[in-house]
């Protein structure tokens, strides 16, 4: 057989074409009794319905966690999870934290050194010393 095919898998480029939000679930834990949950309880009562309506892609679970500080937990498509303790925070601050979790990709925070990372080939190719406008000696 002159030429054979090599089996491969096409790699995803999230955002090229379709965009899948990486946060798939947010767990809100609160306590009815403790004072550190006061802001959280107000957030759950007043802000959460509009937050859930604005982000239908995220499954939202609200559950009590008695005698503990309130926590927001984000579950991500890559299998990781991120938790933020929101004790003694105001509802607006909690809303910011929830937005932070929503927009995270789920990856560990890394320092990016290059402004652009791409899997596309460079237009001008990989530099080679044997090509281009060679100066003849």
């Amino acid at each position: 057989m002159p030429v054979q095919g090599i089996k491969a898998v096409a790699t995803a480029r999230n955002g090229v074409g379709a965009f899948i939000l990486q946060c798939k679930r947010l767990d809100f834990h609160y306590c009815d009794w403790a004072g550190s949950s006061r802001g959280m309880n107000a957030f759950l009562k007043h802000t959460l319905p509009s937050f859930a309506k604005a982000n239908p892609q995220i499954e939202i679970r609200v559950s009590p966690r008695p005698h503990k500080h309130p926590v927001i937990k984000g579950h991500y498509i890559n299998g990781r999870e991120k938790a933020i303790c929101v004790r003694n925070l105001e509802p607006e601050q909690i809303s910011n934290k929830a937005n932070l979790l929503k927009e995270a990709s789920g990856e560990k925070l890394k320092r990016t050194k290059k402004p652009i990372a791409s899997i596309n080939e460079s237009v001008r190719g990989i530099w080679s010393p044997y090509h281009g406008d060679n100066k003849t000696v």
Binding site: I126, W127, H131
Partner: protein
Amino acid sequence: MATSLVVPKRPFLALPFLLPSCDSVAMELRRHQSSYRRTKQRLRVRPDASFGVSSTQFQDHIVHNPPSSAPSVFHTPVKFLPPDDARRSLHTDPLFKHTNSEVLPTVFKTSTEKKYHLNKSDIEEIRKLRLSDPMTWSRWKLAKRFECSPMFIAMVCEASPQKKEIQKQVLEAVQSRWGPKRRMAREDRQLRKESWGRDE
């Protein structure tokens, strides 16, 4: 002026890319300046001649600066474009032909021109010779006698089973004397050869 300097570490006055503004006097005076500025100055390379104002063309034109990289396989050669393709007419410009292929040396010393000079009786004789005395008439000897390639001999006739058996035993005897290093090197060589076809 350069000769009067007391053994400079680098003959930077001889470097061709220094801008004319850094004349030798300024150089000498600023010998103790910070190294950052000095390196920045040295990186100030004069642009390539093709970027400047051309003497022949005064109107707007395109600067053709081919990339210093191996050509991409997605750029179909002009010869491979179908006749109705619009890109055929774009590449007819003689400017694109850089190298004259006639002057380049070929990879193989012998010419690969095919002669097609053997007729049916010759082929019959090749077969007869190879069957009658396989030890004498090997592929290379036959090729030399009939002035064709050993590949052609392999195409027209096959060795007798006895000869194949003998050859196999010879190969085994040779390979049995190989140590692990040589064997591994041969295997690696084969693997590398297979990777050429995958373009790795």
